[in-house]
Symmetry: C2
Subunit: 364 residues, 2 copies
């Protein structure tokens, strides 16, 4: 496989191992495993999940639900507060596929109750501290309002409560992730108990990648929906959710310029390949990626004093130690471990496996 421009390379072995480990963890804890497919957005990678028994999935848009329904999936949750302007898209959706929508307000319930004609599962989105969407867990009077609204529509079936503890992404340690996760579980458990007599089969759906990777406690939860774990990335490694060896993606980039005054190498590979997501490096500066070099027959991860430090549209700048800088030549390929796998994969649009096969993603 000849690499001549920025290329997203997927290590299939690591990726399938990540999938197996998470599936095994879900089984061990008796949880439904409904992985989020927004990270990989690929029908082919989807089949790797089928091999470990996954039958239900999560997506982040109606378009993505359509793509995976056409790929044969029969049970899909669109885990973003439903956009009521897309009701007619839902009516055109395959009846063969069970569909769940997420709501956090009565206006949305009444709109879909009236405009959507098909049987649809409904999860109420709960906020347990991330502060993006959802109803504050303690606001049961508001939840009651939604449940009353829902009860008017026979074709809408209330399934349970769903939360996303996205604030684990801001955690600085495993310990902090666990604290957030326990806090979130506790709040969801409170709701489960509160509504137990009214809805004995109530589902509790949780599951960001940091919590699902780190924790062995899923008290009260019935379902997990992690997505990023399929590839992992530097952000997850930084949080403590994975090790560097668990990261399945690399962006291979040609070296196009060397700046000896600054010990910087410039690569063909920029914001349109990596996204502009960064983490804070130990020197306090923005880090957009870490560097792996071929060293004889081995690959060597450079320490984080050598890192992707600036990105423009198509260029990236790697700051290097002089001793490493001297070894790099123009025309070499460097491997970059991305900061945020979801955005990098979305930006790149397709994968090449480490065996040279091309894996397509959902077209845009």
């Amino acid at each position: 496989m000849e690499i001549i421009r920025p290329t997203l390379v997927l290590n299939k072995t690591i990726c399938q191992q990540n999938i197996e480990l998470m599936a095994e963890k879900a089984r061990r804890h008796n949880l439904t495993f409904r992985p989020h497919f927004k990270t990989h957005q690929s029908a082919e990678i989807g089949t790797w999940f089928q091999k470990v028994g996954v039958e239900k999935i999560t997506v982040s848009s109606v378009s993505m639900a359509k793509y995976f329904a056409e790929a044969g999936w029969k049970d899909i949750t669109i885990a973003i507060p439903f956009n009521i302007l897309e009701c007619s898209e839902i009516n055109r959706f395959s009846e063969d596929c069970a569909l769940n929508l997420v709501v956090d307000n009565t206006l949305t319930i009444n709109t879909i109750g009236t405009k959507i004609k098909r049987n649809t599962g409904i999860y109420i989105k709960i906020s347990t501290g991330y502060e993006r969407t959802g109803i504050e867990y303690a606001a049961v009077h508001k939840i009651d309002e939604l449940l009353i609204a829902l009860s008017q529509y026979r074709h809408l079936t209330f399934k349970g409560f769903l939360t996303h503890s996205g604030h684990t992404y801001r955690a600085a340690s495993k310990y902090e992730v666990q604290n957030i996760h326990y806090d979130s579980l506790k709040k969801m458990f409170y709701l489960k108990e509160y509504y137990a007599s009214q809805f004995p089969k109530l589902e509790i759906s949780v599951g960001d990648t940091p919590s699902c990777s780190i924790s062995e406690n899923f008290m009260g939860a019935t379902e997990i929906r992690p997505g990023n774990f399929v590839f992992y990335d530097l952000m997850q490694q930084n949080i403590g959710a994975c090790s560097i060896d668990d990261i399945a993606l690399r962006v291979l980039c040609p070296v196009i310029s060397k700046q000896s005054l600054r010990n910087e190498i410039v690569i063909y590979g920029g914001a349109i390949h990596f996204s502009k997501e960064f983490i804070r490096n130990s020197d306090g500066k923005n880090l957009y990626g870490r560097v792996v070099l071929q060293n004889g027959h081995e690959k060597k991860l450079l320490d984080s004093t050598n890192y992707l430090c600036r990105l423009t549209q198509e260029h990236g700048v790697i700051r290097m130690n002089p001793s490493v800088f001297r070894k790099i030549e123009i025309g070499n390929i460097v491997e970059i471990i991305p900061v945020h796998a979801c955005l990098t994969a979305h930006s790149m649009g397709h994968y090449m496996t480490n065996k040279g096969e091309i894996i397509e993603m959902m077209p845009r």
Copy 2:
């Protein structure tokens, strides 16, 4: 035109006006106008430039050069240090199209001298302070080395020096942009004088959008290559390169959730639509976009205390004043002015004009 999901809307009138103004400025200063097409990446928008007499263009990749050559362009500069792994791509390039490459090292010159078979124009990339790529302007001994290397290859024609003062993007005022621009021109002028007897027809190619928009001094330059001005954006407005009314792009996004505890509205529209580029708002926080609302028959730009303050993959959060917050309903469409037009356009993949026509971009 029914908008039901994030949609990039282009105001054709403003865009064409931006093109005319820059073309007129180039004429006034007797400069070749070689606009950078990486911002819009659209063959159709390219034709709007032809209408004002543009015949030469700049692009940022070999793939983009190919796309525009197929659209009929006959003179293209690829303004990124040439990636020597793409030599055979250049040999497959249409002979009808004049092609210029940019180099900043002898290894690249010797590689393309040997491997590229066609007549090719060569610009030497000069660094005047941006510190990304290029040879330090004062390092004439190094420039001489490149010129000697170039002189060995008959099919490579040295055209002149090219710089990009990208550090104007970090400027806090028009005054600072002008200082950077003058400093850059002065350095390029020094080179022009130094090499005048050897290369009497030497070209000096400059041209970032802030400098080209703000300055009326182009002393010594023979060509400008701005790109972003075709749309402008909040970053340019923040620098002083344009007014809000000159910005030709909006991302229209459905409102999917209201968070009354925090006066935040949540839109369907996130990092995959806007990119994660931000500027600093007056409150010290990251600003990812500003908000325009329909107000009766008029459109109203909200002040910057109402702004897009957080982005995740598909969601955006807008912080609002309570009085504005109360007027927004779920299912409304809000218009967002993007921070960085180039990355937003690239992320969205096509445009809808304000008259509802779809304008395609280069496929990825």
